[in-house]
């Protein structure tokens, strides 16, 4: 069971849920958590991402580039680089998706051994950066981000 207690976890999940709604996604995924960390409430994680040139807009562009590349591999090109839009009304708010759960698992692992085993923003960032597969590592690679270096800076506290 994932421990979702801890003030920052609640904050980041709330922000990630808003990102999922804006994305018209039925679930909260890892990419929404990455976007959430770029908010002012992202604290040290936001600062580390900003140092690497990743503000909210840059993350969105990187994620969009990953989708575009993935579709191009099977010969699909989106007009104006955008997914089709339609009226969106979530019957219920987006729930935690599988990739977001993995991020939280890794964030918990990263927080172990800390002063209070509390999950801090930098632990959530490490949880995202430690992913070996999925949209987040692909998007960050496309954006030319040195993930190991960013992980090292985050773990250094």
């Amino acid at each position: 069971m994932i421990r979702t207690d801890g003030e920052f976890v609640r904050v980041v999940l709330r922000l990630a849920q808003a990102e999922a709604v804006a994305d018209q996604s039925p679930s909260i995924e890892a990419e929404h958590m990455l976007l959430a960390l770029t908010a002012p409430q992202g604290g040290q994680a936001r600062d580390l991402l900003a140092e690497a040139g990743l503000d909210h807009n840059a993350v969105q562009l990187a994620l969009a580039a990953d989708v575009e590349r993935s579709l191009a591999l099977v010969g699909v090109r989106l007009a104006a680089g955008r997914m089709p839009r339609s009226s969106y009304f979530p019957g219920r708010k987006p729930r935690l998706g599988a990739s977001a759960k993995w991020v939280l698992h890794r964030a918990v692992a990263a927080s172990r051994g800390g002063s209070e085993n509390r999950i801090e923003p930098r632990h959530v960032l490490v949880g995202l950066l430690n992913a070996r597969v999925g949209s987040v590592p692909r998007a960050l690679d496309l954006a030319g981000i040195d993930r190991p270096a960013l992980i090292a800076r985050a773990l250094a506290g």
């Binding site: 018209q24 591999l73 010969g75 089709p84 839009r85 692909r138």
Partner: protein
């Protein structure tokens, strides 16, 4: 006939990423196409048949969203 060419990159991650992106695109296309059809006067039954699903399934999935947006079938 347009030709769809699937590039072989040798990286299984690329294939899986394409699956995820296509599923997302299919979902968005369905949302947009259903909204367009209902707005153009299609019945829920006609939309369901075009999608190959039951009327109950498509109505359950889309009706609340379209009702909230003020898009309603012109005829039942």
């Amino acid at each position: 006939m347009p030709q769809i060419e699937v590039q072989e990159t040798g990286d299984p991650g690329d294939g899986l990423a394409a699956v995820v992106a296509l599923r997302r695109l299919a979902d968005r296309l369905e949302d947009a196409a259903v909204e367009q059809a209902i707005g153009a006067g299609w019945s829920w039954s006609e939309v369901a048949e075009a999608l190959g699903v039951t009327r109950q399934a498509v109505h359950k999935k889309h009706s609340h969203r379209l009702a909230a947006a003020g898009v309603a079938p012109r005829r039942r």
